[in-house]
């Protein structure tokens, strides 16, 4: 059981949030769930706390009484600027500022491959490379990473930023053979990010034990993350269903995949 008394889980109704609820009290003795609407099927250690991330007072009330936060909430794909701004940028600020006011000690933040999506597929990067976002969504992820760095340097709030690849039930395209993070491995990463004795400000990449890799997780070695799943088990299936693609297509060439091939959201979604 976790050493934390109460942990806030944002985005609790989303795909990853729902999976993380399965970690049970390995997250915290009490897990407070937040989403836009109510969460269902509460376990005894869970409490529900619906909110809009863009509303500072609501966020502050949800954070009060928690000693850690798992921040999975917000817009999880490219979207209109106003949505990115409200959910991810203002929402991110609200989380960190509420954490400061209420003495939260540690935050685990769901960052994304899209914070560094414009590195080439053939580059192997670690957690110290300059960010290269591939979308406004990716820019918003770098914003919260910087905010986390600031709140640690000035106020001592620890954060692990998990740059999550592709966390789905299973890999379905050739890029997923690299970026796939199984739900089980995602839970392990979050649990270890919470229980590690000290994390300071840390960036860890979220991928399973896939032979193909973009990322070198050495800078996060102290977390002790040891993935149990591998996209390799899906390789033949994925190869059978897909073809090789054009190496010069931005969706193939860059780590961010199709996000790099897309134009500006509002142009494309008029």
């Amino acid at each position: 059981m976790s050493d934390y008394q109460r942990v806030l889980l944002t985005g609790a109704a989303g795909a990853l949030g729902s999976e993380l609820r399965k970690s049970g009290t390995r997250l915290g003795k009490v897990v407070r769930l937040s989403a836009r609407g109510p969460c269902e099927n509460l376990a005894p250690h869970e409490e529900d706390f619906p909110l809009d991330l863009a509303d500072f007072d609501a966020v502050s009330a949800a954070v009060k009484g928690c000693d850690a936060i798992v921040h999975m909430g917000g817009q999880a794909l490219e979207g209109p600027w106003q949505t990115i701004l409200d959910s991810n940028i203002v929402g991110g600020y609200n989380i960190y500022e509420a954490a400061r006011r209420h003495g939260v000690k540690r935050i685990v933040y769901a960052s994304s491959v899209h914070a560094i999506g414009y590195y080439e597929r053939t580059q192997t990067i670690d957690g110290n490379v300059p960010t290269r976002p591939d979308s406004l969504y990716g820019v918003s992820k770098t914003f919260v990473e910087n905010l986390a760095r600031y709140y640690f340097d000035k106020f001592g709030i620890e954060t692990v930023c998990l740059r999550i690849g592709s966390s789905f039930p299973e890999p379905t395209d050739r890029r997923h053979l690299i970026t796939w993070l199984s739900y089980r491995d995602c839970r392990q990463l979050v649990e270890k990010s919470l229980s590690a004795p000290r994390v300071g400000f840390m960036i860890a990449y979220g991928m399973s034990n896939n032979s193909e890799a973009f990322w070198d997780n050495r800078t996060a070695a102290v977390l002790g993350y040891k993935p149990e799943d591998s996209a390799d088990d899906y390789r033949d299936k994925v190869f059978a269903k897909t073809t090789q693609g054009d190496p010069n297509d931005p969706a193939v060439r860059f780590q961010g995949g199709s996000f790099c091939a897309a134009g500006h959201f509002e142009d494309e979604n008029k």
Copy 2:
């Protein structure tokens, strides 16, 4: 005379903006000035275009017809979150998105030492180190740097981010002996950032030819910046008026100076 037909200068009424107007047609054949209110004493090559950076339509109208932008506008100090958000984050987005829509080729952006203010004074850093902002203001500077990186990688708009130290008439404290950027050298940096044949996405530090240095500008060597002034000329004067300070004071220990010693703006300015 510049090769650009029309350059937008934001923040044209501020201290640096006013100095940059002295560059005249070395910025552009026409220089469009923007500030919250009207600018005065227009030269023949200048045209006035007051606007609120948080207003996308106004920004878009100002950008239309320009082939380059010198973006000095926005909140230039720590301030309330809402101000940082409106002026620097939303304002920064408005500039870049308007630039994309109107085919602007290059932007020179006034970033700041406060984007990396939490590096220790004894560390020598270059333009590739991870950002470490020292304030919400500093976080907003990293936001625009990431936005610029994105708009270059996806849309090809070039940016030079100038991480300006302390651009004042003269150095007045011992940290300024390191961070001072004379107005003349600031003008040179902006002019060369505009006229360099290619800049891609580049980060350059803005300091004069000071013997004491935090920064290694080699990654921006192609700009050919060759400062003409030096804080060294003020060393004796500054030493005579100041004392050595406590090396453990955050204002002494970190590159961001007093920004690192301050708490959260809204706590301190209730």
Copy 3:
């Protein structure tokens, strides 16, 4: 089965070439074999195309109709300069220039430990270190690596340079415990170099899963190479048959082994 229609395999009659034929249609739907003389025992997906690598017209004819090349041919040991020049340097140029003329998309090139043989045994190197050839043979390998870099940068032809250690049936000396690449792992490396969605210009080291290592293959992590064999299984056998050697003997001190202890070929083979 490979996505390539037709792959040219040079050096098809050599030890590695013969092993690679076992990959069958995992190389290409059709595999065109080339060696100085005819190849035997053709499988249904194989076609024979004997040639002299130094003859541009012959190479060009062999390359025509192929969409990928596995270039294992040429002089595989130190030899007289004229042989190195004709087989490896002129031969290498002929392969790349023919590939350009006939629209070949990707080449897998058998480079060698001897391209970096003068690194010390105690240095751990990756694919980005400056080359340090240990022989004229090694110099010829760096020549083709540079040629490959050029043909990618200018003409977009992708290459994986495999710096193969010691690909033999089994390790027979203590240095092989480090450099050994089993035939099975060699086939895997070539197959993955062909099937990876994008390789650009990449250098990968060819060694099995040996505990002792000179090389760090992280820069080639995206290939997903996962060796199945290990020289460790031969450690006791090799130790029993060999003695420790003099650590100052160039054959022990440097990664290139006995190539570093040899003098100039023509001096020693008069």
Copy 4:
């Protein structure tokens, strides 16, 4: 059986020394044991040679006739300066200078995590980082490492410095989950450090196959160290018996653990 004729093992009566005796003739055909007093239960290949490391003549006599040394002796914890000076600094010099005079070829030296104890827990370091000792004990370890570097560069005596983490029967606190080196793995490290064909001057970290890690052993990859034990097997047990601790406690924050939290030995032990 080792290729060495006679190996001197200092500190042979200590915890690690006793464990290393179990390596038997894998250390040397004859193993000469030294400790302050006599060693017991000598095996046929062992000979006893008690001595005081601070006595050059005694050390010289013990070294004579050996072709390698495993130097585990000296003060193994923080202690009074005079003890550190006599046992570790003077003792270290005596070992190296005697080795030079008697033609010893290789030394395996028990350095320590405390040579780099002031790196933060969240930093992943390799063998090339500048030393940051956390105690006078740690400073004495860096002294011998530098001495070893000198005796290799000038006199060609090879050394492997093993920066040993926590070599105990099993991990008992959360930091040990990172630093633990099982006795079995310790023996392997020493054996491979002796039998590797060439080591020059090398630094290797001594930890078992623990998922949590401070250290990157790539610079020692040629040793072929392949740990067989893991602190992971003790994780649940350790977590059950301990609580999370304060991430700002120097004993948690820094790699050296409690050594970093202690003051000056003589102040604290008056």
Copy 5:
């Protein structure tokens, strides 16, 4: 006056060769000139020795009796493969192999920016980056650099590879403002490369004291090269005569300039 008894200067009739003759006995007490045809206006310390670099016996005869070589000869621009092969590759081998046979101690080699021409203009590189040639000419330069590395590592012949930018009477385009090497500075570089007490294998970039720079010459700092000229003096003149260009034109984007914009020589010169 030089400490060398006799120095061979190849390419003595070319533009740079002619300039280097002005160094007089600062090159060697005797300077042996070689070019395809005879050299004119011999000074008392000069002797003429015309030869074809592709003819080993002629090269060997020219090298005999020399203790150093300044190798400026060969094809100095992109050309047909056969010319590059004969003049630069075979010619380079002939120089080094003759040097080995006749005991030459040091070679100064005119390498070129075109050995690394595919780095972007905005990248600042030093002498250790992987090569990225922009032409067959550039590939031939990397060939001789590797040959030089090999002849130093195995046979102890020292080489300084000078990667010369644009050595012309004066800069004439905007890229020259970066790459220009005045004749006077070129002479200094060659003289210091000869007179430095030890150079091993070294790469130095050949540029004058230009404010705009691609290159960081720190790895060659021991040469003590201190340029006396600067392209800055020509900046206004060059800007007046040229326009800004398209930053996406390969001739602007890459360090190699127009070589990067050209296709394959034989395609373009049918």
Copy 6:
């Protein structure tokens, strides 16, 4: 005038110590001189305090009342081990431990090129490279550097380690053209090391503005050291009096010069 009340200058009777006395009150309002015997010609701001560095009580008495120390004392050349041990190792410990007990804030330590003397002349190194001492003297310098690192990390005492090259009246051999530090520049380095607002633990190389260089002082850029002298002014004179030497002589090949060519002191001085 310095901000320090009282500065202890050890080695005050040595060549550098005598020169540093010329800095007068730029060192401290009072300068306490220590040497083995009495110092002469005391200025009004000077006080004399002879001592033996190996005597802790004497050192402690001298340190009492000082807020900074310039530690130039001890054995300044290779010597017998016992001398190195007493003067430099025990002496160094005595200085730091006395500083801790008496609340000294900052120490400027005269380290030496001999701490890194086994780097090759052709390597350009900065202050972060691993140490490579060339003598027992050099090992003692690395000992004090590590001690300083420890006393800063644990007790907050700041140190600037000055790795001084060759501080003599003028350069007299070709290596001095690289390593020379004029007395005037040495004084500036010490003065700036004292007056810099924060130095933490820092390593700076001590050389004048010589064109030839082994060292990159960027990691000490914040000191603002700006040398006023240059060995270049002596180049012709030195060249006229010396010959080129053998590049394979250790005295030429390595940065430590003749220290690298010497054997063990006690062997050579029996």
